[in-house]
């Protein structure tokens, strides 16, 4: 088991910068996720840790050892590929045994360890099958077994669930997590699926355009996004450009742009130095209250229901405040909430403790 640290890592391909000035430390035994849209640099970073790419600038360390230019076969990492990359000319057993054979273990040991790991991934009876005879989920588990059997320092998973159907994905999610806890192995997981990231990880690094936007626990990422990109990428949110007009020791008041509504925010939610460029307010749909009657108070605006979507447990409602601002709200399907229709006049309440102030990052790179 190892920790991994990336120090000022940069990777360029020709003129494009895939990863820029990345500093990260992944602790021993941690389940760490790289999350981001496609082309954000997360897979490139993983491949630098695996040794398939070498950074243009910067250092990769396992524990304190400099691994920057060590070839992949000398890193002792276990990697699970998006397409599994099972060797098609070998049986399940031979696939799993490959890494041990390379390490020149005695035959009997190989046999013992392969059988033991195959039973751990619940494929004990499949060891003589050709890999092409297995289902997607089974192939996935062979790939995991093959990576785990060599007792790697670090387990690397590159979007391992993206080729599975939804039901299987749920099963494999808990399967991977179970194995990770059982082996207690440092794991780096790459995904573009926020649900996977939130539900599995100890910590998440959110990437966009080759830059790491935030590193934090899932709760922090969701509740305290570092900027408007993170807020929008993880979960649903309402992002409203705003500027500060007043603050005291408990509150701050912001003016929405361009229409000028004033919004009061708890001071604890805006530890952002305000000279840092543009700001935005973010509020999750589930944090928005919809009122049928006008009430006095802060952050209450009149609007018109323009869209209602029922998804079973939840109602999604879009409320138009003015021509610049549509607020999305999500409510639980309880009887009290179902009594309005498209076109109704309602009042939207944005509770000040649910509003978060985030810096607006200029999106400069082209997707």
């Amino acid at each position: 088991m190892s920790s991994v640290s990336l120090e000022a890592v940069q990777k360029t391909f020709g003129k494009t910068t895939a990863v820029n000035d990345l500093n990260l430390t992944i602790h021993e035994g941690e389940f760490f996720t790289f999350l981001g849209p496609s082309g954000c640099g997360k897979t490139t970073t993983l491949r630098m840790i695996a040794g398939f790419y070498y950074p243009t600038i910067g250092t990769v360390r396992f524990n304190d050892k400099d691994m920057t230019t060590v070839p992949p076969e000398k890193r002792n990492t276990g990697m699970v590929f998006q397409n599994y990359a099972l060797f098609p000319h070998m049986t399940v057993f031979e696939n799993v045994a490959f890494g041990l054979k390379v390490r020149r273990l005695p035959r009997a040991d190989i046999r013992k360890r392969v059988i033991s790991v195959l039973s751990k991934v619940r494929l004990g009876h499949y060891s003589d099958r050709q890999v092409s005879q297995l289902s997607g989920g089974q192939q996935q588990r062979v790939a995991l077994a093959r990576a785990l059997v060599v007792e790697p320092e670090i387990l690397l998973l590159d979007e391992p669930l993206s080729n599975l159907d939804a039901r299987l994905r749920d099963d494999m999610r808990s399967e991977i997590l179970r194995l990770q806890r059982e082996f207690g192995i440092t794991t780096i997981y790459v995904t573009h699926d926020q649900v996977e990231a939130l539900s599995m990880s100890d910590r998440i690094a959110v990437f966009n355009f080759g830059v790491c936007q935030q590193v934090a626990t899932p709760e922090e990422i969701y509740n305290k996004p570092a900027n408007d990109f993170v807020a929008q990428f993880i979960g649903e949110t309402n992002v409203m450009p705003a500027s500060l007009i007043y603050k005291d020791e408990h509150h701050a008041v912001f003016k929405l742009e361009p229409a000028g509504q004033k919004i009061k925010v708890k001071k604890t939610n805006c530890h952002i130095s305000q000279d840092k460029g543009h700001l935005a307010l973010s509020i999750r749909p589930e944090g928005v209250n919809i009122l049928k009657q006008h009430c006095e108070g802060d952050n209450i605006f009149k609007g018109k229901v323009v869209f209602i979507q029922f998804t079973g447990a939840l109602f999604h409602t879009h409320i138009k405040i003015d021509k610049h601002l549509i607020i999305r709200a999500t409510q639980l399907n309880t009887e009290a909430n179902i009594s309005f229709n498209t076109g109704d006049d309602v009042w939207v309440h944005l509770p000040q403790e649910n509003v978060r102030v985030v810096p607006k990052i200029e999106v400069t790179a082209n997707a």
Binding site: Y54, T69, P72, E73, R75, A85, F87, V102
Partner: protein
Amino acid sequence: MRNPEKRKTVYLLIPIAVILIGYVLYPALSTLFESFQNKGAVTIANYTDFFSAKTSSNLIALWHSVYISILSVIISAIIGMTLAFIFNKYNFPGRKLFSGIAIMPIVLPSLVGVMAFMFLYGEAGLVPNAIKDLFHLKDIPFKIGGITGILIVHAYTMYPYFYMTVSSALNNIDPSLEEAAYNLGAGRWRVFWEVTFPLLTPALIAASLLVFMVSMASFSAPFLLAGGYRVLSLQIYFSKMNGNLDMAATQSIILSVVSIAFLLFMRWFQNRKDYRMANKGIGAHQSEVNHPFMKIVMVTIGAIGMVILLLPHATILMMSLVPQGAWTWQTYPTKFNFENFVLLFQDPEILHPLKNSLVISFIAVLGDFIFGMITSYVLVKRKFIGKNLLDILVMIPWALPATVVGMNLILAFNHASVFSLGKILVGTFWILPLAYFIRFIPLVVRSTNAVLEQLDDSIEEAARSLGAKWFYTFRRIVMPLILPGVLGGTLLAFVQAVGEFPTSVLLYTLDNRPISIEIMNQLRMFNTGQAAAYGMIQVVLIAVVLFISNKYLGVKSENTL
């Protein structure tokens, strides 16, 4: 170098580059230099000679070559496309059999095919004479020779290029594309011209290119059938035989320029548009032919076609069974036995050329196998500067007509050089294996490229990350996975090498003369039975190899071109 992978690439590249530069580029440049030499001076005199009106024979030959090539493309396209459509779009009794027979011309090596056509339709040919006797005519009603002869042979041997590429393209067209067009209200005619036909463009371009280049390079057909008709590939041979190496070099350069210009034109034409299917076709449907009259017509046409297509094979087989002396002045052969084949094992003089061909071809394709696999691996899986250049170098022997490849080797190795280890190679045994090796580099590299491109990079990466070194990975993972494809390409190269004529005729010596040369000798001595027996051996060899590659190596017949 910070990157050990790059270092590995360089180590792999060095031997590849040495071989390509020494045996492909340097010989081609030798020819280019020679073409600017005249009586020891550097001049463009050869070119002015070539294009001057007073020795118009060269210009005429050039024109004839282009003319024949264009006509060959048109005729083969018409035959090949028609057959491809009939066999892939309609279902009628015997469809499978007929469509299998339709590719039979590819098992005839060009020289053997031409020989069969001479026996069948030539001056003393069986068909004209049979018709003469049948209808009690005074003279034979027709015979092939000159330009029509060449064109008929070309059409017969080259329409499979169109047939196979168009068939496979038709099967890859997603039927829902045509259905979508019908659904939008287009009629049959419109669907064909606006959907199906445009989607066939890449196939048609590829086939046209092949037929054009093969026709430009065609040597056996003009050699045996042309009579006084001059084509450029023959002119090179005659110039060389007359000892006029400067002119042979000049003619080689001009023939190559025309071929390569056409190649580049087709590449450009194809790259203007993207024809890739968004998703893979799911097997084309065939419409059933139900009308009983149409059914009979279809089957009859198929049966007649089958006879015409198989007649050359049957002729070679029959001729090979006619012992020497049993068919001299008679119209038809009088005696059949296995003497010609038995002689192979009794008379070492007769076995010798066969042994030569097999040994030389084996050495050559063994080289192609190793060199092709490594080169293809580097081209497909490695990144480096100058990859396009390497790609071009590899393809040069394919783009150059065989006669030119032969000339290049003569001009490069008729004197000692570094690449021949200080020896003169022309006139020795080793020049032929070298020539065959060079000729078939592109074939092996391309068939290996096809399988390597299918091999996902992550397979190799998985092995590396599990701790396997590069060479171990290559040996245990990459090689086993690509072996069928490489072997398929190599086997094909082998059978083609066994029948190789144009380079052999320029480079052979008495001791290492291969089958193709001996066939010519036997024909010259009117010993047709022995010539046909050699031919028959080649036909069987090719048929066996095609069968094996199809059945066990997963090589599709359309990839064999």
